[in-house]
């Protein structure tokens, strides 16, 4: 299946003979193997040896068998995870096989079962881990297996707890490859090894991001549309969400708003460049809101922003010129100076926390819109896709971006959004599972 140039390996292929699910890949290093045996006394310690044997056998196979084996070999052993460790959030995608045979289930090692049960039977993990149930993709076929794709997130500062859990659940005994991207894959690589005895397959975050976007768009066929835009963005009465067909996406400006912002120009599935980025991103919004309002979570900050009025905080064009600044085509409602009213003590004393949260949101969002628009002009690209967790449950920002792009480009630019906004990096990482190296 090829959609958007993304070839979904093995998908849709008739499945003949399922491998033993516990069959594990060769450990990636000797240390890894030996450690795992020591560290996980309860696990199936024969697994490593068994796998080695199997490799030997396969090397003597007939051509027909080789083809079959190659498919099986390409299919990684369970569990299938993809992880994106960002500056603020860890995004985890987990493929839950739903086509496990009774035989498989019997042979499935306890730790694997336990992980599956733990992840799928909860929607919250600890105090801060959350499974975005509404994003779950059911009946997905990946590498010949049918199952559900789950989307989980937790704060990056909880990573030690996560590693502890991995250790407790003997994750390392599964000898699986953990595909990880995002800066944390590099920063915490040692912690993964020392704390949980896990070896990471580190992947570039922008590669993963683009792969993830293309893949998710290609596999979502039913339910709410993956890609959408706001029709009539400049008219609040008529503004509504509409599905967008992204089948021929190139060229595309991909704006990933996480803690910071990266802007990529994508020309084909493996031809892209990072145009620029800005440090004024989701982290800035939350960071400033925490300092200005005393809140501590993104949800709180957003809730306050929803209630607030930014015009109490910002100085508008009309505050300076009494109306539009016609000579330069600036409408009176445009912000002339973000937080500009706050240079005045009386006004500082009269604004609410909600107003400050709203102004912060508007400032950051408009700035991203403005830089994006300039990049789109410089790169000569009209379609802009915004992703990243800053946009999660943040309709305010999405509508602002849609509005800003449409207004300042006089309708030339279209802002597009994707439902799985923050998870594409993790999905892209998962997709690298069969390609160790």
């Amino acid at each position: 299946m090829e959609l958007n140039g993304f070839h979904c390996d093995g998908e849709g292929c008739a499945e003949e003979q399922e491998e033993e699910p516990k069959a594990l890949r060769l450990p990636r290093s000797k240390t890894d193997a030996s450690c795992s045996i020591i560290a996980t006394p309860g696990a199936d310690s024969a697994a490593a040896g068994g796998s080695a044997l199997r490799e030997q056998r396969m090397s003597k196979s007939t051509p027909a068998m080789l083809r079959l084996d190659s498919l099986k070999k390409n299919r990684p052993p369970f569990p299938w995870f993809g992880m994106d460790i960002g500056g603020t959030l860890v995004k985890l995608v987990y493929f839950e096989p739903k086509d496990i045979t009774a035989e498989e289930e019997q042979e499935e090692v306890e730790s694997l079962k336990s992980i599956r049960r733990y992840l799928t039977s909860h929607t919250a993990y600890g105090k801060t881990g959350i499974r975005d149930v509404h994003l779950e993709l059911s009946d997905l076929t990946l590498w010949g297996r049918k199952g559900n794709l789950h989307f989980i997130r937790f704060p990056t500062h909880e990573l030690p707890a996560f590693l502890q859990m991995g250790r407790d659940k003997h994750f390392s005994s599964l000898h699986t490859t953990l595909c990880a991207t995002g800066g944390g894959a590099f920063k915490y690589e040692d912690d993964f090894r020392t704390m949980a005895n896990l070896q990471l397959l580190k992947l570039d975050e922008l590669d993963c991001l683009i792969k993830g976007v293309l893949y998710i768009y290609s596999v979502v066929s039913s339910g709410p549309p993956e890609c959408y835009y706001f029709e009539h963005p400049t008219d609040p009465e008529r503004c509504e969400q509409k599905a967008y067909n992204l089948e021929n996406p190139y060229p595309l400006l991909l704006v990933n708003i996480g803690s910071g912002v990266s802007i990529l120009a994508v020309y084909s599935k493996d031809n892209y460049k990072r145009v620029t980025g800005t440090s004024l991103g989701g982290g800035t919004f939350l960071g400033l809101c925490c300092l200005l309002t005393g809140c501590s979570t993104f949800e709180e900050a957003l809730a306050m922003a929803t209630e607030g009025e930014s015009t109490h905080v910002d100085k508008l064009v009309r505050d300076i010129y009494g109306g539009d600044y016609e000579r330069f085509g600036l409408p009176g409602w445009a912000v002339a100076s973000s937080f500009g009213n706050m240079i005045c003590k009386e006004k500082r004393d009269s604004v609410s926390k909600e107003d400050l949260a709203r102004a912060t949101l508007v400032t950051i969002t408009n700035n991203i819109g403005s830089i994006t628009r300039m990049c789109a002009l410089n790169e000569n690209i009209e379609r802009v896709v915004f992703v990243g967790n800053f946009l999660r449950v943040n309709t305010l920002s999405m509508k602002l971006l849609a509005y800003a792009l449409d207004y300042w480009s006089k309708g030339q630019l279209k802002a597009l959004f994707l439902r799985h906004e923050g998870y594409f990096g993790a999905v892209g990482a998962l997709l690298e599972l069969p390609n160790p190296s």
Partner: protein, 759 residues
Amino acid sequence: MDKSITLPPDEIFRNLENAKRFAIDIGGSLTKLAYYSTVQHKVAKVRSFDHSAKETEGDPLYEISVQEEITARLHFIKFENAYIETCLDFIKDHLVNTETKVIKATGGGAYKFKDLIEKKLKLKVDKEDEMTCLIKGCNFVLKNIPHEAFVYAKHADSEFRFQNTHPDIFPYLLINIGSGVSIVKVEAEDKFERIGGSSIGGGTFWGLGALLTKTKRFDELLQLASKGQHTNVDMLVKDIYGGAYGSLGLTGDLIASSFGKSATTDKEFSKEDMAKSLLHMISNDIGQLACLYAKLHNLTRVYFGGFFIRGHPVTMHTITYSINFFTKGEVQALFLRHEGYLGAIGAFLKGAEEDNPNQYSWGENYAGSSGLMSVSPELNPVQRARSGTFDMLEMDRLERQLVNLPLLQDPTSYIPDTVELTEDALARVYWLYCFEEALDGVVKRAIASQKDQPEAVERAEKFRQKYRHKLQTLRHQPFAYGSLTVRSLLDTREHCLNEFNFPDPYSKIKQKENDMALKYYLKVVKSVEELSWEQRQFTLVKGLLAGNVFDWGAKAVSDVLESDPEFGFEQAKQQLQERPWLVDAYNQWIERLKGPPHKCALFFVDNSGIDIILGVFPFIRELLIRGTEVVLASNSGPALNDVTNSELQILTERIAAMDPVIHTALKEDRLALVQNGSSSPCLDLSRLDKVLATVVRERGTDLVIIEGMGRAIHTNYYAMLSCESLKLAVIKNSWLAERLGGKIFSVVFKYEVPSKAQG
């Protein structure tokens, strides 16, 4: 409002009695006032005696008189808004001129103070668009003030690197960072467009900063920021990656998310750290947008202004860093010395359109301008808290319109000065010392030139104090007036002398020297004529060089001349270094002379007396005989003992009366005298009299001769011309001679032929 201050009237609102055409720019905290005035000052004039009267021996050659002259000057004064009422009262009390009916006003505060101004001054306030004024002002300073624009480099030896004045200033991008940001593309004098902007500007720094740190004042916030560590608040690439993000070339220290740490940590952050983080966030954002706009519009000249920048080293540094980062060094952030005055200058120009200020050339009056004040707060803490200080800029309307020498190989890359003293600490120390040392002599000379006026002593003392103060300022802030060069030190001294009515301290000495030298003229010409061709050429060049020893500007020579007036021409020749000279292209020159004659030679002359009469004239006489036309370019106004154009007119007449060769050449217009438009002992080939440029072009000039230390060593030593050139001088300063690898009285004889390709 503080009304208690008393203004020192002589110092601040100068020439108010003749002032007209007022303009005012009232910003958030500073007011800038502009007016046009006329200055009456003394000039030295020379006049030939009637031929009938001048026959008696012992009478001077010509008459020197000091006359009053009226010139136009623009005054710009900057002061804190708190003093606005006091200042308006002061102006009202001193304003004599009653023609003035309106005052042009711009800036955000113009509205607020409208009633006050109208009430106090009884002038109608006429509002002008802020952006239009800003651009008009910007064009004016870029065109008229050499080294207006500079690059800021915090950690370099010299923080300010001044840029050449480009003959064509357009197109450029002006990023005005006020409370918000405006990005304006300027394509011509009256053609500009606001191509974009951002709401994240100075108001954001101030407003958000006030909320975060409970610090109210903008300057205090900057002060906090300069002490903070942004890495405590910002999430860096290395906080996410543990190191650099190598594949993208993002270093670990790069800010990934501004204020990102305050989103994930529950600790308290210091005010300083938050202010610094905010400063970086805003500067980077503005820099990034500026680069995106510059790229989209294909512009490389990007100037920054507005109250966020206004001389603040902290913001200049962060903006420079940001531009450098986002353009990978392709675009440099440029700042302007007189950035704070742009609005006032523009508003003034709007009001003065009928005077056609744009058709004149203007020059900064170093004597009356305060210079660039702000430096790093660490360097000079007093200056950041300079409440109550008044900054001034004065621009003199120049008599002549100034243009490039058409023979410059590349006018855009031409730099007149040989050594930039802001970048050369050793040379700076020496020259500042040298000028300070020479000050007593200059004062003495000034007093001596006006023996008949007893109050000259007092004026000379004032001059001494003013110039010494300038030297001291320059010692601490070498970049105060743009580039610091030997030329600017000399020019500042001339401006200060003029300021205290010493228009030409050397007039009598020049007269005496000219008189004496004329007596020897025929003898010298005759002795040269007897020589063989080869010998003659060498003697003429030696004469030129020996004549150039007679320079009152050089300390070593003025010492000798003061103590031993008999020091003669022949002795000077013996003082000269033997060949091979320090720079010796004599053989190539002689080879060239064996070829066809030049069409026309342009000769930038230097000193009066022996130099011009016994050195230059015999030399150009030979050129004239060879069939080469000669244009003698001399100073329009006096500087040291340099011969001025009006003196040269008289001298030439006198020589023509003795020498038929000169007489005929004058009559046939093969010898022309033109003024160079300058009153400096040095020479800026990019600011020359327009008439000179025309003459040079019309006559097909193919040889340029530049003579003397000031014109050929301190300036133009590296100047590249599109025709043949001869630069010659005797180094009359041991320190400089040593620096060039020679001894005092070393000779520089530089003959250059442009490569054919440039033909």
